[in-house]
């Protein structure tokens, strides 16, 4: 508990440091502010391209559109919407991946037939097919969830396979000497052994499914999610630069948030075992 509080604090410190750095850059090369003329002139640091930190903060409480609710509320709702797509897909993909891994562990033939494709897919730009799949399936949040499921299921299958195979052969021999059923071996030895590997994959998949959800929203005309918000504020960037940045910040929080959720789950499941993997 105390450790969590400490890391939250250091997290805030880093964010604060970044904000300070941001303003220092603007101070050195941005637009003139009040009586101050910056020594350099970097287009990147202009108020258009890098709005002041306080302007970004202020935009959260101002209405996103005329007579609309504050931007903060809009973005939080968009974030929840996108998160739901990502999470739903993640759960489905994780179950599918784990199921496949279990099947492969028990059938060498199926493994030999299918695993090469699972492995090869790791080198294929999977996220790139997101828009195509979404248009193909006529859009909608279900299509986006399918993207997230797809992005989750590959790393989980591979990690699951490695993890389920990881127990010491002597542990498996021990179970055989007890005349245990395959099911017992699976539940008592293989799955617990696979847990660390699975959680490592879950962490990767969490991030990937959020990214997949955002990308999937782009061509599908979904306006309710973060992808839609980013597109919208990008289109009308000049009329309100801080809003795009606000949307990106919220997207970052959704990504980090999901990742942290998985880490918390990992800490609970793997309590007392070897230190959680760093990545």
């Amino acid at each position: 508990m105390f450790r969590a509080g400490r890391s939250a604090l250091s997290f805030l410190v880093v964010i604060g440091a970044l904000a300070v750095l941001w303003e220092v850059v603007k101070l050195l090369g941005g637009d003139p502010n009040g009586g101050w003329i910056p020594p350099f002139q970097w287009t990147v640091a202009s108020d258009l391209n890098m709005p002041h930190v306080w302007d970004i903060g202020a935009s959260f409480v101002e209405p996103a559109q005329r007579n609309g609710p504050p931007l903060g509320i809009v973005l939080v709702n968009a974030g929840i919407f996108t998160f739901r797509e990502a999470f739903g897909g993640f759960v489905f993909g994780a179950l599918l991946g784990l199921g496949l891994a279990i099947v492969f562990v028990h059938s060498r033939l199926l493994e030999r037939a299918l695993v090469p494709y699972v492995v090869a897919s790791q080198t294929v730009p999977i996220i790139a097919i997101a828009p195509v799949v979404v248009i193909w399936l006529r859009g909608g949040w279900l299509a986006v969830a399918v993207i997230s499921a797809y992005l989750t299921f590959f790393p989980v299958t591979i990690a699951g396979l490695r993890g389920l195979r990881s127990p010491d052969p002597r542990a498996l021999e021990l179970m055989r000497s007890y005349a245990s059923s395959s099911r017992d071996v699976l539940l008592k030895v293989r799955l617990p052994a696979a847990a660390p590997y699975l959680f490592a994959a879950f962490k990767v998949a969490a991030t990937a499914s959020v990214v997949g959800a955002i990308i999937g929203e782009l061509p599908s005309g979904i306006r309710d999610g973060l992808g839609g918000a980013i597109l919208n504020f990008n289109q009308f960037y000049v009329s309100g630069p801080p809003k795009l940045w606000a949307a990106i910040i919220v997207a970052a929080f959704v990504g980090i948030g999901f990742f942290s959720l998985v880490r918390v789950a990992e800490a609970m499941f793997l309590r007392g075992r070897t230190a959680p993997s760093d990545a």
């Binding site: 890391s7 250091s10 997290f11 880093v14 287009t43 990147v44 258009l48 391209n49 033939l109 030999r112 037939a113 299918l114 695993v115 090469p116 494709y117 090869a120 790791q122 080198t123 294929v124 730009p125 999977i126 996220i127 790139a128 097919i129 828009p131 195509v132 248009i135 193909w136 962490k203 969490a206 991030t207 959020v210 990214v211 955002i214 990308i215 782009l218 061509p219 973060l226 980013i230 597109l231 990008n234 960037y237 795009l244 940045w245 949307a247 990106i248 997207a251 970052a252 959704v254 990504g255 980090i256 999901f258 990742f259 942290s260 760093d278 990545a279």
Partner: protein, 259 residues
Amino acid sequence: MSKRFAYNAPAVLVFVGVLGLWELAVRAFGIQQFLLPPPSSIAGAFVEHFDELVTVGRNTLTEAVGGLLIGGVAALVVAFAIARWATASRALLPFAIAANSVPIIAFAPIMNNWFGVLNPLSKMMVVAVLVFFPIMINTLRGLTLVDRSSLELMRSYAATELAVFTKVRIPNALPYVFTALKVSATLSLIGAIVAEYFGGARSVLGQFIITEAAFFRFANAWAAIVVASAVSIAFFLIIVAIERVAIPWHASSRSAESS
């Protein structure tokens, strides 16, 4: 010879079988070709648009490679600096990992605004940020996760910190760097294509895919995706080849372990 054939046969059969079934199913059930293009029309689209596909593929690959170079060099420099001078490197690692879980692709519109939508540099910068963290984290790991006995050994020789760095830490880090580069190969291509989804010149893969998909010309879109996959795999294999040359001892020692 025949043993290897028997081992790989199931996978090959699946590949051929899936393609064949796909082709048959589309024709047998009379599914609209534009909805679910059979492998034959994808192949046809590939041939028909070959020149354009090569051009867009090359442009996107340039963005990917450029971004990988920028991000990779920056990552190596930062990792070296942290390993050499900051004892707080262990404390920084969690932040880098958290930063990696940010959907970096969301910065694509910003990069387009900063560097220009049509400018390949805007895509390269997205790729650079995308590959920065994996490469930096892994390099830092490789530089700092040296086993104690090796460090004690160097102490017994009264070796300077610089000697330890060059003779132990850097060689130790090389396998980690290559692991990150292999991941980054795929990542850089994905990053370039996806960044292009947020807007780009006509002559890039991402825009090609989006446009063809928007016009329901799925055969063309899938052909482009096949091209993207092929380029990605080729990029990955090139890095594997470079790894074989740069750290021959690692690959062979690993295969010895697993045998």
